[in-house]
Symmetry: C2
Subunit: 207 residues, 2 copies
DNA sequence: GTCTATACAAAGATAGAC
DNA sequence: GTCTATCTTTGTATAGAC
């Protein structure tokens, strides 16, 4: 025991540091980096502004941390599946879609948040995440290349991600436009778990 | 003649008002609303801060105008096609994808910009644009409903938009990750003009 | 570790001269 | 219509008491 925890905090059940991070997650996700005021975060955490600078050095540092978590959540789910040596192409697609949709239903704002903020330092993040490796050297990509020798594998990655992620990126629009409640939207996404793999299979058979 | 133009301006070739708007388009698109400073816009226009408030009342009003243009560009292309009574489902899809990709290649940052900013007042925009009408009552939707009675038409709309728009939404990631130059990315998009309609046709045949 | 009070910088908006 | 100078608000960060 010991583990360098403090003495006074944890009045409720989590450390002050964690409360700030949780508040930061919420506010940053909701309003984006630029529109977020550190005061909002402090307030959301039921704490005081000065604490933010005590625990994290600045707004930017705090954001970095939150962003890394989010990016990890968004890409961490897929990397292992992409590189699995055992499974077939079809199995990978099925698992990918399933895992992704599950995760997205729990974090519907995630993709738009990450993609929105990412565009201000794309090189930076692409590098750290080794997106390049996944996009060029993953087992999935190899399998795609073999299956469809005349079509760039990126096309299928785009389709897979497009069909899976885009409904969440455009969710404000779809949900409002079509007048769907949350339950109805989720029901649609649940359907897509089974539909998308079928569609992709059909696409792979084209020509 | 007369038309209430001023006497002094137009030193180059466009009105001051238009120069401000053009600068605003650039800066807002690049940095987003919250991160944009009116000073940046003034500087980009080679003008002075005070002029912005002279012509437009505030940063927000100026943004509204730019945003409406962008949204119009993003949705204006598709509405007519969606509601065309003459064309078949397949023709509509083909035309939609073609027009959309053409437009997006000229405005690659458009979708991410609009989708990013839209999430702060989705109701507002969805209402103005009558997205609901297109999503529920358009001819395309009717045709989809007839063709696939047991699948919600929204699924296909999501797929269509996902495959077409998402590559641009994720462009920073794709382009950087895969190490593509602009030419190469455009070449891929050019291929997609022909591929997406085929894929969708294949999807329509599933089950 | 946590608070209050405040310094300091940035940014939107406006006044008033030309 | 256009400019310079300035007001005012807001937001990040810090000092210093407890």
């Amino acid at each position: 025991m010991g583990k360098k925890k403090s003495e006074k905090q944890e009045s409720k059940d989590v450390s002050t540091e964690e409360r700030i991070k949780e508040a930061a997650r919420q506010v940053f996700t909701k309003k984006g980096y630029a529109a977020t005021r550190t005061r909002d975060i402090a307030e959301a955490a039921g704490l005081n502004l000065a604490l933010l600078n005590y625990y994290f050095r600045s707004k930017e540092k705090l954001f970095e941390i939150v962003m890394m978590e989010k990016v990890q959540a968004l890409f961490g789910v897929i990397a292992p599946v992409l590189n699995d040596e055992e499974s077939s192409l079809e199995e990978k697609i099925e698992r990918l879609v399933h895992n992704y949709l599950d995760m997205l239903m729990k974090n519907p704002d995630l993709p738009l948040f990450v993609l929105s903020e990412i565009r201000y330092q794309p090189e930076d993040l692409a590098r750290r995440l080794q997106v390049g490796k996944l996009l060029r050297e993953s087992v999935l990509v190899k399998q795609l290349r073999e299956r469809k020798k005349n079509i760039h594998p990126l096309h299928f990655i785009m389709n897979l991600l497009g069909m899976t992620l885009f409904p969440f990126v455009g969710r404000p629009m779809f949900q409002h436009g079509a007048g769907l409640g949350q339950k109805e939207f989720e029901a649609l996404m649940e359907e897509r778990k089974k539909l998308i793999p079928k569609w992709i299979d059909a696409m792979l058979g084209v020509r």
